[in-house]
């Protein structure tokens, strides 16, 4: 039985794990870098160990430092959170070697999940559909043409050494393929000095739909339904929701069965996520298993009532999953917005610094997981996720309007946030209709809409700004030094003015 867990992470996910441990009476050990001495996870854990400098390599990614903290604290298990060492199979191996219960899959299964080609092969064997294409490198244009005709045009020709738009071409027929084969080879040779070409089916207007999977050490497996995560920027998820508007009950069950097969194919244990792309024609293609707890797990908790971190711990303890697939049902609708510290108009560039004031939304159906508190700092050393704002509703519309309110109530001083962008997205006709795809932002010119929303806001607020300026000029212009810098109540003073 796990009695003390070291959480090899920081930010909101460290706090999330601590919450469940507290409720279960399990002790927690936090680790922190120089940058995090004043972070909430240090304050909320039973114990906290300093593990090095701010740069992740010198602290949160430093396996030896973390192992030292485990041994010093006497923790018997480790929760890796997401990111950092969570999908590092070497670290999982190190834990296994030191007889520390790693809350996640075995090192072997994690390694298999992390190796895209081997994982794809395992899926093909288990009859889990992956994106059609060459199973391996193609030796020449003839072989590429054969495969293209088998899977159907359009296809992508990709050099495995390509990148940044070079060494990749979209082709629509045999003629284009033959021409492109030469071009791609040439580009790849020119840019990278070598070429090795794959063929892959080209999918348009795709949705990112993933399934939460759960498998215990006894081989019992269930899925806890899908999450749609199609609203993205630069392949990073921004907004997730469950259920997916593109998945009906029949599809849910059909893909769910594939998910169980996929988990078995890699002998996965504990909680993981099977990610799929859904083509516009309704076909689902497996892409990978994320061998960890996902950022967006709370929306699954909201519609199933499960505590997924507790389930992780129970499975790590060797317990059986305490329910069957048929016992699970989805209750209502949930949305998550990832509140990032970033400037939408600077190409989503990070925005960091001191946060003197913050107001965290609450109310019926609102859950906010965050490390923010008034006076905290958003560090440039770590990722930009400051908060996960989730809302639940009996209907999709209820979850959406609750999210809009919660976004309005969320105030974060000192850094730029993605909140205005989400308000614009949630108000679009396309979002309301569930017309989602991974290119949603570009497809529906969302940034232009955001600009015009902000302009509208400015115009709406202009009279207020002018009134504020007039008052300021009247009362402070000549006496600014005399008035203390506190936000106390000046009513009586002003009455006399």
């Amino acid at each position: 039985m796990i009695k003390k867990i070291l959480i090899a992470n920081r930010g909101e996910i460290a706090l999330r794990v601590i919450r469940t441990c507290q409720a279960l009476g399990i002790k927690t050990v936090a680790v922190y870098s120089d940058e995090d001495y004043n972070s909430l996870h240090v304050k909320k854990a039973t114990e906290a160990y300093h593990i090095g400098e701010a740069a992740p390599k010198k602290s949160y990614l430093n396996q030896q430092k973390i192992l030292d903290a485990i041994l010093a604290s006497g923790a018997d298990a480790i929760h890796p959170g997401y990111g950092f060492l969570s999908e590092n199979s070497d670290f999982a191996k190190l834990c296994e070697k030191n007889k520390i219960n790693f809350i996640g899959p075995s090192a072997a299964s994690m390694e298999l999940c992390g190796d895209k080609m081997r994982c794809k092969a395992a899926m093909l064997k288990a009859k889990v559909p992956t994106i059609p294409g060459s199973p391996d490198l193609v030796k020449d244009a003839d072989e590429a043409l054969d495969i293209a005709n088998k899977i159907g045009y359009p296809v992508l020709l990709k050099s495995v050494f390509g990148g940044g738009g070079r060494g990749i071409r979209l082709v629509n027929n045999d003629k284009e393929l033959r021409e492109a084969f030469e071009t791609v080879t040439g580009e790849s040779m020119a840019a990278f000095g070598k070429s090795a070409i794959l063929v892959e089916k080209f999918l348009e207007k795709i949705r990112h739909i993933e399934y939460q999977l759960v498998r215990d050490k006894h081989g019992n497996a269930v899925h806890t339904f899908e999450r749609e995560c199609s609203i993205q920027r630069r392949n990073q998820k921004l907004i997730e929701q469950t259920p997916s508007p593109a998945v009906d009950q029949k599809t849910r069950e059909r893909i769910g069965e594939l998910v169980i097969k996929a988990a078995e194919a890699v002998d996965y244990t504990n909680l993981g996520t099977a990610e799929f792309l859904r083509a516009d024609n309704g076909e689902f293609y497996f892409i990978e298993i994320n061998a960890r707890l996902q950022v967006e797990h709370p929306i699954t908790e909201l519609v199933t009532g499960l505590d997924l971190v507790k389930l992780q711990i129970d499975i790590a303890n060797g317990e059986q999953i305490p329910f069957k697939q048929k016992d699970l049902k989805m209750n209502g609708y949930a949305i998550e917005c990832r509140i990032n510290a970033e400037d939408t108009f600077l190409d989503f560039a990070p925005s960091t610094g001191h946060v003197p004031d913050v107001t965290i939304p609450s109310g019926p159906g609102v859950r906010c997981d965050t490390y923010l508190y008034p006076g905290c700092t958003v560090s440039p050393f770590y990722d930009s996720l400051m908060a996960k704002l989730c809302t639940w509703g009996q209907t999709f519309e209820e979850s959406r309007t609750r999210m809009l309110n919660a976004l309005d109530d969320f105030y974060i001083q000192g850094v730029e946030t993605s909140i205005p962008l989400y308000k614009t997205i949630l108000k679009t006709k396309e979002y309301k209709e569930g017309n989602l795809s991974t290119d949603f932002l570009a497809r529906f010119k969302v940034l232009d809409k955001l600009k015009s929303d902000i302009k509208k806001d400015t115009i709406e607020k202009q009279d207020v700004a002018l009134a504020a300026a007039a008052l300021y000029s009247t009362y402070y212009s000549s006496t600014i030094k005399a008035i203390p810098e506190s936000s106390m109540h000046w009513k009586s003073k002003l009455d006399r003015a």
């Binding site: 600077l346 400015t458 109540h489």
Partner: protein, 170 residues
């Protein structure tokens, strides 16, 4: 006083015209009288009801030229001298940065990964001057105008804070 609001073409006028007592005021905004009741006030900000509707304002900066504030979460810059012709209103994503400005500043804090221009070289608006790393992301800092790089003010491997000058471009 007369004001211009960044990004909006007109000129506006606002003044307190009468103290009604009990924290209540009559203000005139663009010729229209409005009722205002102060709830809380300090040099940092003010909360009031304007015609019964609540608003919260934080004053960010008050110079002779500009008054920057956050009005109900929306950043607004009031321009007190209405003849200035270049106004940066950042939130709209429209830079409109003055061509006359020399300093190229960083809008984010970060580590300098590479410097992509040399002192004395000609650059065009949009050319990459340097690449910064922050939050595991690389961000290019681009020239705000056509010109000649007079001075590079950063070093590879060094750190820059937000608003630090990256280069002088004339």
């Amino acid at each position: 006083m007369e004001y211009r609001i960044a990004d909006i073409a007109d000129t506006f006028n606002a003044e307190v015209i009468q103290v009604l007592g009990n924290s209540e005021y009559l203000v005139k905004i663009n010729g229209k009288e409005r009722h205002l009741r102060i709830l809380v006030m300090s040099t940092r900000g003010i909360e009031f009801l304007l015609d019964q509707k609540y608003h919260s304002i934080k004053y960010l900066e008050n110079t002779t030229a500009n008054m920057k504030m956050i009005v109900d979460g929306v950043q607004i810059t009031l321009n007190k001298h209405h003849k200035l012709n270049q106004i940066v209103y950042k939130n709209t994503g429209e830079t409109g940065r003055g061509d006359t400005q020399v300093n190229l500043r960083s809008q984010i804090p970060g580590k300098v990964v590479s410097i992509n221009a040399e002192e004395g070289s000609k650059v065009k608006k949009g050319d990459v001057i340097c690449v910064l790393e922050s939050m595991k992301m690389q961000v290019s800092v681009k020239s705000h105008k056509d010109g000649v790089v007079r001075k590079i003010k950063i070093k590879k491997g060094g750190s820059v804070a937000k608003n630090d000058v990256i280069a002088e471009i004339e």
